[in-house]
Structure formats: C-alpha cells, structure tokens
Amino acid sequence: MNGGRERGRAGFRGLDAADRTLFTGALNPLEPSPDDRPPIVDCRGVSFSYGRSVVLEDVTFTVPRGESLCVIGPNGGGKSTLAKLLLGLIEPDRGRIAVLGREPREARTGIGYVPQAMRFDPQFPISALDIVLMGRLNHLTVGLFSKRCRERARAALDEVGMSGYARRPFSDLSGGERQRVMVARALACDPEILLLDEPTANIDLSIEAQLIETLAKLRERMTVLMVTHDLDLVSAIGNSVLCVNHRVHRHSLPLSGETIKEIYSGRRRLEHDRRTRHQQGDHSACAHD
C-alpha cells in the first residue's frame, strides 16, 4: 500500500516535464456514454460511511461496456471503498449499484479482481498454477480441480506470458511476475470485467512495461476498471478517468495538467518525475516496502 502511496505522491512536481501531449484535456463531469447498450456498472446516488466518517457521498456514474476506466484520486478519497462496493464486499448506506445488471454480490462471478500482489505472504508455499486455479473455485465442490479447470488456468497463465511459470513457487517470482499471476487468476474467472487495485504499485519500471502490454491486450476484449495512482498507466490503458474524492467526477483523456492539479489538490507530484529521478540515480522518491 505504501508503495502505491509513494507512487501517488511522486506524481505532481514533474508536471511541467511531463509529456504534455498526454495530458491536455478538460474537466468533463459525467459525460453520457456514447454506447447505447446498458452500462456494465450503474451507480446511482451511492453514499457510504465508516462510522461517522463519510467516505462516499451521492456518487453517480456509469461504465459502458468495453470501457477502460481508471479510478484515480487522493488517498482516503474512497477509491478502494468504491471497488469494495462494486465487488459486493460492503453494502452502500444509500443509493443503488448494479453490476452487469445485477446486485454486486450476485455479479461477483463476472468480475476478475486483481488485488496488489505485494499484500500476500511471500513465503506462502504455493505455485503460480495453484494461485491461478483459485479463479476456478466456484467450479469446485470438493476434492481436486477438474482437467478443464486446469487447462483454463494454464491458458490464463499463457495469456499473461507466464506459461513457463506454472510450477514455480510464489516465493521465487519477482514483483512483476507475481502481479501477472494475479492477473492470470482474474482471467481464469472468465470475467466480463477486470477490476485491478493499483496493479503497478511496487513493480520495477522495466516489468511495468510488460504489465501495461498485457493490460492493453486485455482491454480490447473486456471492460477494465483500474484503481491507480500511476498516470503513465492511465495514459497507456485508460480511455476514461473517474476521479474519486468523496464525490466523483468523470474526466476524458488526455488529462490536462490543471486537471491533475485539481484532482490531487496540489499535494502530489507526477509519477513521471519519480521515474526521471529514478533513472538519474536519485532513489529518494522511490517506494521502500
């Protein structure tokens, strides 16, 4: 988590140095979807509080089928809470959420969820294939996974370029490889929606490029929702941005520098700056988890 926070903080100062062709758009709240099909996510007047602390207030947005929506915003703004609401892990205090036209809890099987790989015990004795097979748990009653489930899991590993790693233990994988295994696990669910929570947090820059390449392929065949602080990832994968800071604002891409300032209230520096400094040998802004 801290890594994600650090990356988020690393977003803003280098704004002037950033490639301005990527970040030149305007604030554009709640644009109607150009797609006429029913939205894949329909969130209407949703509010949620932890005790007295209001996290989300009157949140309304829709996600059309096939969109790649990046959820960005300051820490504590409600991004992760929104993801949990969409997954049906928590219930809203007010409002209504429909995912794939159903209650979120009932739509879970259609969502491939990718948590941060770094939150897991790195010494847990488990192979990459066994992790990916978890995506088929709803096809298992008792005993062992069927041959079909195993084949689906292997195909998912292949899809993220990890086919040679099936028997490799989780502890032997690098941060980027672990994250790709998590993506494969989500793909093994045969999802209509891929929901990722800060997929590039704590990943080396060279490996991040491979992950971006994988996600760029996946967004062509499924709806992608991604909670991230990584503006490079936003520009590479997203075709729309939802800024969450207790309320939500939808932005079209590319984002303007002013919009980014607005989103992060001047508290963050641009990820680009961190990368530039990293490449120049200055690691003071890097995540140390």
């Binding site: 997954l87 892990l89 879970r108 099987t109 969502i111 969820y113 948590p115 897991f120 015990d121 790195p122 010494q123 847990f124 004795p125 488990i126 192979s127 066994d130 992790i131 097979l133 978890m134 995506g135 088929r136 748990l137 709803n138 298992l140 008792v142 005993g143 062992l144 996974f145 233990p169 989780f170 502890s171 032997d172 696990r185 669910c189």
Partner: protein, 282 residues
Amino acid sequence: MTDFFADFLDAVAEVPLIRYALLSGIVSSLTFGVVGSLVVTRQIAYVASAIAHSILGGIGAAVYCSRVYDLPWLTPMLGAIVAGLVSVAVIGWVTLRFKEREDTIIGAIWALGMAAGLLFLHYAPGKAVNMESFIFGNILLTSRSDVVATLVLGVLVFVLVGLFYHKLVAVSFDEEFARLRGVSSKAYYFLLLGLTAMSVVLLVRIAGLILAQALLVLPAATASRFSRSLWVVMVLAVALTAVCNTAGLAVSYEYDIPTGPFIVFLAVGCYALSFLFRRNRA
C-alpha cells in the same frame, strides 16, 4: 549405535507401554503434520496456542462439577472438548469481528482459560489433581484406546483436508478473493479452528498442552522453510513429527530422560537448524 536401536526395538517388542507410546507418537504425527501446516501457513499459531491453553478451564470445570455435583460421566476429556469448542466459537468470532484488538483479546481468553482451570482444580474437593499430566502430558501413559482415538482423528483430519484442500489453501492465501469466488471464508476458518481444537484436545492426553502446541507448530514451521507447496509441507511435517516422536522416545528410554520435554527439545532443535539453510527466496 546398533546396540542402541536393538535395545529400543526389544523394548518396543516386549513392553506394551513403550509400544503404545511409539504407536501414538507415529499416529499422532498425521494430525500434527496436516493441521500444523495449515496453522502455520494461515499464521494462527497464536490462536492455536490460545485454544490449547483455554481447554484447561474446561478440564478444571469438569473435575470440579463431577466431584461437587457427583457427575461421574463428566470426565476431564469431555470438559476439554466442550472448552475447546467454546474457545473456537469465541476466538473465531473475536478474530473475525475485532481484528484490531485481536491479539489482546485472544491473550485475555488464553489467560482466562488457564486461570479458571487452576481455580476450579484448587476448589475441587477430594484428592489433589495432578496438573502436570495435563500441562506436560505423558506419552508413556497412552493406552490402546488412546492410539485408536488418535488414529480415528488422524483419518478424519486427512479426509476433511483432502476434501477441502483447495478451499482451505485459498482461504489461507487470500480470504477476500476466496469469498468473491463463492467460498465461505468464515466457514473454512471455523473448520480450521475446529480441526485445531480437536487435535489439541485429543493430543493433550498423550502430549500435554505444551507439547501439543509445540508439535503442532514447530515441525510444520520447519517444513515450510524447505518446500514450496502446502501438500509437500504437510508430508514433510508428518515425517518430521514422526521422527521427533520416535527419536525422542528412543533416546529418553535409553538415557532415562523425561520423554515429552525431550521431544519438544528435538522439535525446537530441528527448527533452529533449519535457519542454517537458505530459505526460499522472498
């Protein structure tokens, strides 16, 4: 060395006490290895210890009530089973409901169980109860029925873990994701706690509280340093527990050393030695 083994094998063949001790040591390895591996990978060794200690309250209450109210059917083992199940319910609920205060509350339950057990035993009329047999156990006092009960438990554990292996692994590795795929993480958590309590309760009889929790955790922790798959950890832990129990029994018989503490000593020694080897890459 040959004489050493020959002496021990003669003793096993001739003395039923040693034979049952050896059999119960080997048979109990199945339960210790399998349940211990789940406890270690799920990182609930502290919870398992709390369950082990809290059953002393049940033992004490059973002894007190059976003597005061003349209930001969209320055996210490029945009290231990009830206390084990109650502590699973309370500890399971606490760990799921009060995550931020989990360790403090579990510590309190642990202490409460032991304190209640000591008070009950202190005020129980009649002859004084030998606390040492509950706390440290005595593998040399195991009977044929103990061996059979331990074997039944081992088979039950083996079948349950075999049936729900993938779900138990999933819940241990990523509870949230397992829930999203329709696996009741709470149900499997309680199943794991229940297996732990059953193991500790039955094994306390032969191993005592201290030895039971040591053998539940240490061989599995040692095995987990060398293997990269949970079922391999289980197999290694079962083998290591059997080796510790057998070697501990043989050496303690030959040199007249208290058996239980020496087995713990061996298990700790194996765990300490494992640090001399390079662990799996993190």
